[in-house]
Symmetry: D2
Subunit: 295 residues, 4 copies
């Protein structure tokens, strides 16, 4: 299979179940909402070493937010619901409640299950309940004015670890291909790429052959500089750069759409040569995203 | 005392000792380095609820980085050295090693003390030692190419919690004043503002009068909407917005300079009326930054 | 009439007919497309002193551009079709053809009338015709690779000079209100705000009382610092800042929607007090946008 | 000669004398100053088709601007002083005076020669003279508050058309190399890159062989897709992308430094293969920048 001259490998991405919550952060301006969303989704690339995975899902213009101000939807993700709840509370408390002019709303009002985010105790008794449209919120007097927060945030069983690899004739071809992919995924609702700029520069394998204390180590079979030095390198001839896109989403459909749109966009970039995906032979994750089927 | 017609309160900011490490993150482009720096300093506003405090110190042009590529200097801060070390390792491993095209260097080569950041085990035996200029680094083969990392990062005893309050005739006057302050502080070497966009919208007091389980709660004496409702409000007549700037730095001098430059910049904004600072009567922190003295 | 506590003046904005062309600029990444769009719409605030008015209409994700790459739609506007044609050619030739990785497509393929933008002569005979989807384009060999350009760009009779004024209790309240308005307008299809950041800081009147050689001069009736100094000042009591939003669009409906969405967003900002609009008593422009009717 | 493994051609860039004026634009925030600077330097890539060449020289922090607010220095460039004067006035009047919160100052107070930019007539008699530090300025009442402008702007005889070509093993390697070069040049004082994002994607030759009405056309000798199709192609073996950086500056020294720093930064990017420069055999421009000498 080829898209725009780029070969698509006949393989699948293996992914895992995870709990996903969705928060809308609004602010007086787009920039103010963005700064808070960036802080709240920071240090959240992979649960291998971070307390959660998180990313910005979408910009939401004033016309479509609960309070008529510009906002961003973010996703916070963890395999365990208890950990997700803790992270949700801490990230909203430390990165949104503290930010200038921001407010918080439930990003999935239709979700059957909700997690409590009880910020109103911060008000020390000066807080009060009110409404924004049809949403029940707490208003907390703060130095900057009043903080408005909805305290029940929707959570669903979603998918973590959807992925594909962009390979290029040069490191920079693969990188720009990966950037184009991330930009396409930004427009897919319900899916985020949690790594810096959405791109993984150092895709890993589980464990380590040499250092037994390591949970993860470099995936030498996909390292261009090790081609010819390791047996059975999976780096195709003529490929000098490989970048991985990892996707978390609210549903199998969202991750599938994100993978498809991301791959199509990457294939439009000059010098992108090959697209494949990572899996563990189907032994680990229950979700399989077959590249040829989703495209 | 007045600056550009803005009254400067005759008071001081109280601050605390903390360990501060400094990392330089470079990338193929400024944007790539920036994305990694933002991720590495995310979810790090206050140790009240975050595992560390962190911020971007400065952009460093290619002319002045160890590897001749654009970079950013970041500071990671924690009162306890053991916690700082853990956070330093995790943040560099998860947010810089994983990022596309990035490299890591020691931001304080002259610091007497260094913290180890041993990323090279990620190389699973394929890593090797080399030099960038006069710096000893490890090169780790990764999918994107090779990751270069210096593994000893300077750490010093610095200062956390330097602060001042910007008060304005309207919420937005105080906010723009605070933004101008943050922009001035960006140009002060060795000082960061760890909150979203550098600004605290909801300054807190220690503990809570009503909810005993809370470590911190709204500082009602500085809330404009509570003026007239709480006794002894410290919001001056005609003030409708108060934003706090909190500064961490490598030294008392750096925090002092950051406070001075930030206050001067805030005072240039139309509608800024009053500058003060937060302290606990000198009972908590050993550092006192007297506003009139530093200006 | 009030929106979120902000009084909406019972008046109308007067606007004028103008020719409007729409161009889609795509690039390898969103940033590359954006840089070209910004250059192509620069120095284009008002035809009082610029050769055209222009602005970025919308970001278009890879999923929805002709060539599957990220792009921006821009509008270029002039009352006279001949001038618009010249400006369209020059701006595309100098700011898009010259930019790295960009391509050009007709942003209004359904427009009955088209303007020619014959860039292919730049190919000096090495150019050739091809297709992108169902669009006929020229491919021009360039240093960076190949430039792809559609050479017929749709043009319609639209509207220039739609406007409203945001007034605030402080300069900064009005400014943030105006920013929120611009951000809402960005999401309205077919309408742009051509001034820097979308905001006019120095709204003008036609001509000058004192300096007869001036085509336009400060609108003293709306200057807060002249309240009490000029007779019949139109600055309401308690207003210290006034910013104007000027809107050009492809149709009366687009400008009307942009005005409505912009005003609603401005009214959500703390300290915004009053919204009005500019007109010349209906003597100049055939279009009248009654604020109460459009909201 | 090689830098970081990249071959530097033994040739020179040929450049031309031009008049260069320097303006400092400040604003309440960095973003507000930036928006105005971008508009004022837009549609200004090349005097082949634009009324001037222009670019942002440097960000200037509040600590170092005349009015203690964040600002940007811009350069406006034209071979003819009369044209420069007209463009300087129009660009400042339409893109800075109109912008929210901005002020204008002379960026080269030490220049022997000055151009008048008499904006104060816009005040219609309500304007008045005052001082900002030791600078004489006019204050003009406007809707947003007061516009502050210095009305004599320094102008010097500088250099236009300094240049070099970045060639890469792939289109994207050359592009990222060119981006790195532009980022290095941003830190060189007194030099700008006027093209979109600082990069030329379609470098040209003077005139056209086939279309006699064209002043400039594609430089087929440097087009990678024409290698093997045109005799004497100058595209080295293995090169698939060529981007040009064009530099205007206040002096031969500034352009020389910008070229040197830009080339060094480009050479740090993986896949960059060759650096050369454009000249016309020395017949046109009096300035010759020998690559080996300046590095």
């Amino acid at each position: 299979m080829e898209i725009h001259g780029v070969k698509i490998d006949d393989t699948y991405a293996e992914a895992f179940p995870a709990w996903v919550s969705s928060v809308i952060i609004t602010g007086a301006t787009r920039e103010l909402a963005y700064r808070s969303a960036v802080e709240a989704t920071g240090f959240a690339t992979s649960v291998i070493g971070c307390a959660a995975e998180a990313g910005i899902d979408a910009y939401i213009p004033p016309q479509r937010t609960p309070d008529g101000r510009p906002g961003f939807g973010i996703l916070i993700v963890h395999p365990k619901k208890k950990h997700l709840k803790e992270q949700l509370v801490e990230r909203v408390a430390e990165c949104v409640l503290t930010a200038p002019t921001t407010a918080v709303f439930n990003g999935m009002p239709d979700a059957a299950e909700k997690l409590p985010v009880k910020l109103h105790f911060f008000g020390d008794g000066y807080e009060y309940q009110t409404k924004v449209g049809d949403r029940s919120v707490w208003a907390i007097p703060i130095m900057g004015g009043e903080f408005i927060g909805e305290e029940e945030i929707g959570v669903v069983q979603g998918v973590a670890g959807g992925n594909f690899f962009v390979m290029g004739e040069s490191q920079m071809s693969a990188l720009i291909g990966a950037q184009a992919a991330v930009e396409a995924i930004m427009d897919v609702c319900g899916a985020v790429t949690s790594f810096p700029g959405g791109i993984v520069g150092s895709g890993s394998k589980v464990g380590s052959k040499k250092y037994k204390f390591m949970n993860a180590s470099t995936n030498e079979l996909y390292c261009p500089t090790l081609k010819g030095k390791v047996p059975e390198s999976k780096v195709p001839e003529g490929v000098k750069g490989v970048f991985e896109i990892v996707i978390d989403g609210v549903s199998e459909a969202a991750v599938s759409e994100a993978m498809a749109e991301g791959i199509k966009a990457a294939c439009m970039v000059a010098g992108v040569k090959f697209i494949t995906a990572g899996n563990y032979g189907g032994t680990l994750g229950p979700f399989k995203f077959d590249l040829h089927k989703i495209l």
